[in-house]
Symmetry: C2
């Protein structure tokens, strides 16, 4: 019997995890600036070069962030609920894409602890939101029939969804994942309300 993922893929995930675990534990223990990449890679059992093959920065390794991606499932789920509520759909798509950047099996409580303590780590998270925004824009642009009749509609909607995510993340750091729909719904509602009176 063959497992659904290849040996390569499993090893890859393992490497992601072991680097991330080593990084997060060391940083929680001794502080972000008191831990070097050399120490992390020694504990994780890989070379420094490999470290940077997996994570572009030390901060990404600590938070456990990799490049987000837009899977076919996410696209399909986005399309199926598009009729209901455009903004909510866009926000949920974006949150889901961001979710793909979190390395599987990490501890959300620890991630929250880390991001609350270190502004640098929050910054990295914000950058991943920008990456995800680019991906979401592509998806949204492919659905012109569902959008308001403006050539810029997709970009405005995406920008707005990203603003909602950033806003929500700042209120509740660590809360932006697709699993946390209630918090997102709350953020959307607050946004909508203020928008109505400010427009």
């Amino acid at each position: 019997m063959q497992t659904s993922v290849s040996l390569r893929e499993r090893k890859r995930i393992d490497t992601y995890r072991s680097i991330h675990e080593a990084a997060a534990e060391l940083v929680l223990d001794r502080g972000l600036t008191n831990v070097t990449v050399d120490e992390i890679v020694e504990r994780a059992g890989v070379s420094a070069r490999t470290f940077f093959n997996y994570f572009p920065t030390k901060e990404d390794a600590v938070v456990g962030l990799r490049t987000p991606e837009l899977t076919d499932e996410l696209l399909a789920s986005f399309r199926s609920q598009l009729g209901d509520d455009l903004l909510s759909g866009a926000v949920e798509l974006l949150a889901a894409v961001i979710g793909t950047a979190l390395i599987p099996g990490d501890d959300p409580v620890r991630r929250k602890e880390l991001t609350v303590e270190y502004p640098e780590l929050r910054k990295r998270f914000m950058m991943r939101i920008s990456d995800a925004e680019r991906l979401a824009l592509q998806a949204i642009e492919e659905q012109p029939e569902s959008l308001p009749n403006s050539p810029e509609a997709a970009r405005v909607l995406t920008a707005l969804a990203a603003a909602v995510i950033r806003f929500t993340y700042q209120s509740q750091p660590g809360s932006v994942t697709s699993s946390n729909k209630e918090t997102l719904r709350q953020g959307i509602a607050t946004f909508r309300e203020v928008l109505r009176s400010a427009l």
Copy 2:
């Protein structure tokens, strides 16, 4: 007769300019990755350490960006026009704050050329928008009487203004300065229109 700025201040501006000039010219000539900081500082006549005292990254030096600030004049101007249109006021404030990050006397045409050609440089510009956003938020939070009646109104409004700026900048790179009010007005209008139908 004493000039209004101190000798120190003048020298500081000169150093900013000479580093930025050297960086921009070399990069236009040979490309971003083919120019080293060492080459820039040699042309500018300062040490490498001084380079990083003035600009946090090579990219910032090339674009000519320093830390934005919120001056008393900007604050006053923002307050005086707040009654008219909340969103426009916020966008203009933000654009003005971003304007303070541009080093004085640089060439906007060249800046546009550079940011169009190099995504890295656009990214740096975007980061400065985030910095400016933080400053603008402070200013907006100080005017609770002008805002919709919600504790989150200031943050939503700021996030929205930043979204408009990012949107406009992506449409017209290099166009986001306080002097370019027409482009900003256009961006706000587009945003507003889409928002109305998406809410």
